[in-house]
C-alpha cells in the first residue's frame, strides 16, 4: 500500500508511522525496550528498532502466522517476542528474526503473556478452553489449566504467583506454583470477554458482553459492578499505583477510582475524549499517572488524570485504534489501527 497520511502531534517530531497490509491486532515492546512489535490480521509481525525508530521504512516484516496473528508479548529474554495466532501456533520471534514454533493447538491462540522476575519466568498462552503455563524457554508445558468454556482473557498478578482467566460465567484464579489443580472460581453469570488484575492484587475486573464491567474484591470475593457504557469494553488498564482503572467503551476515557472506598458507590472520572469518537484502546504509563487513549477516528492522546492535560500523540490517522502499548520503561508508545496504520513515538527523545 502506498497510502500516505499526514499525522499531527508528538509523532511528527518524535516518531514515525507506516501503513501495512491488514488489521493491526496487538503491539508490545521487548523487555530491553529496544524493539517494538506489531501483529497484523495477515499473520505478519512488524518489528521496529528503537535506534531506527523514526525511519519507518527500516522496520522489518516477518511472516509468522498463517491467518491472523492475534497477540504479541515480550519474550522472557530481553530481546524477542512471543506471538499467538488463529492458526493455533504459539511462536517465538527472536532478535535475529528467527521464528520458532513453541506450540501448536487445534484452537486459536488468542492471548499470550510472559512474566519475568529474579526467580521465576513463565509464558502463558490461552488456546480455546485451555491455558498453558510454560517455562521460560516456552518449550516445556508446566501446567494446563482447563476451563468450562473458551478463555477470553488472561493476566498474571504483579508477582507471577497467580494467573487469572476470564470465561463464561466468571473467572478462574490459578496458583502458578500450587500442587493442587483447582482454581479459585469467581462466579458471575454471563459472558466475560476480557480481564485485568489490580497491580496490588486488590481486585480482579472483567469486561462483559453486556456493556459493563464486573469486579471481585479479592480479599473477600465481594462483587463490584461498574456499568453505564454504551458499548462493550474492549480495553482496560490499571495505573501502576493501582489508583485508577482506565477503560475504553465510551466517547470519553472512563476511569474508575480504586481508592477512598471506590469503586463501590463512586462514579467514575471521565477524561476528555476525541470530539465524540469512541475510545477503543487505553494503556496506562508503566510508572507515571498518565494514560494513553486511542479512539475510533484514529486519534491517540496522552492524558494526565490529575490535571486533565491532554497531549496529542497522533491526529489525522485512519480507522479505529486497535492496538496501543507503552514499553515497560515508559519511553516508547506504539499504536495500530484496523486499517493497518502503525505508529511509534519515542517519548524520551531529545
Amino acid at each position: 500500500m502506498s497510502e500516505t497520511l499526514t499525522l499531527r502531534g508528538l509523532i511528527e517530531k518524535r516518531g514515525a508511522s507506516r501503513v501495512v497490509e491488514g488489521h493491526i491486532t496487538s503491539c508490545a515492546a521487548s523487555r530491553d525496550h529496544q524493539r517494538f512489535a506489531f501483529t497484523t490480521g495477515e499473520g505478519d509481525v512488524i518489528v521496529a528498532h528503537r535506534s531506527d525508530l523514526t525511519d519507518a521504512a527500516s522496520w522489518a516484516t516477518y511472516a509468522v502466522h498463517d491467518g491472523p496473528a492475534l497477540s504479541v508479548t515480550p519474550d522472557t529474554d530481553p530481546h524477542g517476542f512471543l506471538t499467538g495466532g488463529d492458526d493455533g501456533r504459539l511462536c517465538r520471534l527472536d532478535m535475529h528474526g528467527e521464528i520458532e514454533e513453541l506450540g501448536k493447538s487445534r484452537r486459536w491462540v488468542e492471548h499470550v503473556l510472559s512474566y519475568v522476575d529474579n526467580k521465576t519466568s513463565y509464558i502463558a498462552a490461552a488456546m480455546g478452553k485451555q491455558v498453558e503455563l510454560r517455562d521460560a524457554t516456552g518449550r516445556t508445558v508446566l501446567k494446563t489449566f482447563e476451563h468450562p468454556s473458551s478463555v477470553s482473557g488472561i493476566t498474571f498478578d504483579a508477582k507471577g504467583k497467580r494467573l487469572a482467566a476470564s470465561h463464561y460465567n466468571g473467572a478462574s484464579l490459578w496458583y502458578t506454583q500450587s500442587k493442587s489443580d483447582n482454581p479459585r472460581l469467581l462466579e458471575w453469570k454471563g459472558s466475560h470477554i476480557g480481564i485485568a488484575m489490580h497491580p496490588q492484587g486488590e481486585a480482579l475486573v472483567t469486561a462483559m458482553q453486556d456493556n459493563d464491567l464486573h469486579g471481585w474484591r479479592l480479599s473477600d470475593g465481594h462483587n463490584i459492578r461498574m456499568s453505564g457504557y454504551p458499548t462493550k469494553v474492549r480495553s482496560m488498564s490499571f495505573s501502576a499505583n493501582g489508583k485508577w482503572l482506565a477503560t475504553s467503551g465510551a466517547d470519553v476515557v472512563v476511569m474508575w477510582p480504586f481508592f477512598g472506598g471506590g469503586p463501590m458507590g463512586k462514579p467514575p472520572a471521565e477524561l476528555p475524549g476525541a470530539g465524540g469518537a469512541l475510545c477503543t484502546r487505553v494503556a496506562f504509563h508503566p510508572e507515571q499517572e498518565v494514560v494513553a487513549a486511542g479512539f475510533a477516528d484514529g486519534t491517540v492522546l496522552m492524558i494526565e488524570p490529575a490535571t486533565e492535560r491532554v497531549l496529542p500523540v497522533s491526529l489525522g490517522g485512519n480507522g479505529p485504534i486497535s492496538a496501543l502499548a507503552y514499553s515497560a520503561d515508559g519511553c516508547m508508545l506504539g499504536f495500530g489501527t484496523e486499517e493497518g496504520l502503525i505508529g511509534l513515538v519515542d517519548l524520551a527523545a531529545a
Partner: protein, 330 residues
C-alpha cells in the same frame, strides 16, 4: 430485549452471512460443497462444526465450538453463540479475503442462538448481516424426524429458504405431503426441490434476507384460512393491513408483544407502510430481538399494504390481528 428498529443505510457494506441448517443426514455438507465449487467467482469463508461427516473443500474453513451463552438482559430466550462472536470478529480482520460467510450448524442445533447473535452483538451487527437461514430437509425422512425431534421443527420454523433434498427418493404423493407439512409450520419460506443438493445458487445465496417483498408476494392464500393446529405445534400467522401504520404505535405494540410472547414467537417478519414514509420498512425479529430498516420506496402503483408474519407456537390470530390493526393511523 426489544431494540427499536434502527434505520440503516450501510447494508451494502456489510458482509452477508448464510446460515445452513438441517437435520443430521439431510445433506447440508453436500449442499455446502455444491455452493463452494459452483462457478460463481465468489469466495466464501466457511464456519463448520467439528463433527461434520464430510470434508469441506474450501480455503478458509474455521471450526466452531457451539458455545451457547445467555445474555444478561433478563430474558432467558436471549441466547447467543459466543464462539461465533469471536469467529466473525476474527474473520472481519481479514475482510478482503472473501465475499461472504457461510455457517454450517450441527444437525441437532436450535438455530435461534445463531440467528440471535446477529441481533445481540454490536460488533457482529456493525460488520455483517444475516442474509438467510437456509434449512435443508430430507424428503424421505423428515416426517419421521418431525415426530421425534423438536429441533427439526425449530429448524423449519427458522428457515428463510427451505431446500427439500432427496426428492428422487419419494413419490409425488409423499412429496406433496412433505411440502404441506413444511408449509403448515413455515408458510413464507420458499421451498426449492433438490437432489444431492443441486439447487440454483440464486435460490440460496444473496437472498438479501430482508427483501421480504418477493417472499411476501408469494405468500399462499391458505394462510388466511389456516387449518386448526394443535396449540403446541409451530405454525405461521400472516396479517395484512391496508391503512398506513403509525411507526410509534407499531414499535410500542411489537415491543410489548415480543417482550411478553417472545419465547413462543420464533420469528417475525414484515414489510410495513409507515405513515409519512416514502420507503418500505422491513421488520424482523428472532424471539425477542428485533431489527429493521428502510428498503427503498414502494413501486409505482403497488398497493401499500403492511404485511406481517409470525412463526411460532400458541399464536392467537385474532389477538395478533387486532393488535396490528390498532397500530393503523387514526
Amino acid at each position: 430485549m426489544s431494540d427499536a428498529p434502527l434505520p440503516s443505510d450501510t447494508q451494502d457494506a456489510l458482509v452477508p452471512v448464510t446460515v445452513l441448517t438441517g437435520f443430521l443426514g439431510a445433506g447440508k455438507t453436500t449442499l455446502l460443497n455444491h455452493i463452494l465449487t459452483a462457478e460463481h467467482g465468489r469466495k466464501y469463508a466457511v464456519v463448520i462444526n467439528e463433527y461434520g461427516e464430510l470434508g469441506v473443500d474450501n480455503d478458509l474453513v474455521v471450526d466452531a465450538d457451539e458455545e451457547v451463552f445467555e445474555m444478561n438482559n433478563g430474558c432467558i430466550c436471549c441466547t447467543v453463540r459466543g464462539d461465533l462472536i469471536r469467529i466473525l470478529g476474527g474473520l472481519m480482520k481479514r475482510r478482503g479475503k472473501f465475499d461472504g460467510i457461510i455457517i454450517e450448524t450441527t444437525g441437532l442445533a436450535d438455530p435461534a442462538p445463531v440467528a440471535q447473535t446477529f441481533f445481540a452483538d454490536e460488533d457482529v451487527r456493525a460488520k455483517t448481516r444475516l442474509d438467510a437461514v437456509v434449512t435443508v430437509v430430507d424428503a424421505l425422512n423428515i416426517l419421521q424426524t418431525l415426530k421425534e425431534s423438536p429441533e427439526a421443527h425449530q429448524q423449519i420454523a427458522f428457515a428463510d429458504v427451505m431446500i427439500l433434498n432427496k426428492t428422487d427418493l419419494v413419490d409425488d404423493a409423499q412429496l406433496k405431503q412433505v411440502e404441506d407439512t413444511l408449509r403448515s409450520i413455515n408458510a413464507i419460506a420458499p421451498i426449492h426441490r433438490a437432489q444431492k443438493g443441486n439447487v440454483k445458487l440464486t435460490d440460496v445465496m444473496d437472498r438479501g434476507g430482508f427483501d421480504l417483498q418477493r417472499v411476501l408476494e408469494h405468500m399462499p392464500d391458505f394462510l388466511e384460512n389456516p387449518e386448526h393446529h394443535h396449540e403446541e405445534d409451530l405454525s405461521s400467522v400472516s396479517l395484512t393491513v391496508k391503512t398506513p401504520l403509525d411507526a410509534g404505535k407499531f414499535q410500542m405494540w411489537i415491543g410489548a408483544l415480543l417482550q411478553e410472547k417472545g419465547a413462543d414467537i420464533l420469528r417475525t417478519k414484515g414489510i410495513l407502510n409507515f405513515e409519512g414514509q416514502p420507503d418500505r420498512f422491513a421488520f424482523q425479529a428472532v424471539h425477542m430481538m428485533a431489527d429493521g430498516n428502510n428498503i427503498g420506496p414502494w413501486k409505482e402503483g403497488e398497493p401499500r399494504d403492511s404485511r406481517l408474519v409470525f412463526i411460532g407456537r400458541n399464536l392467537n390470530r385474532p389477538q395478533l390481528r387486532r393488535g396490528l390493526e390498532s397500530c393503523a393511523v387514526a
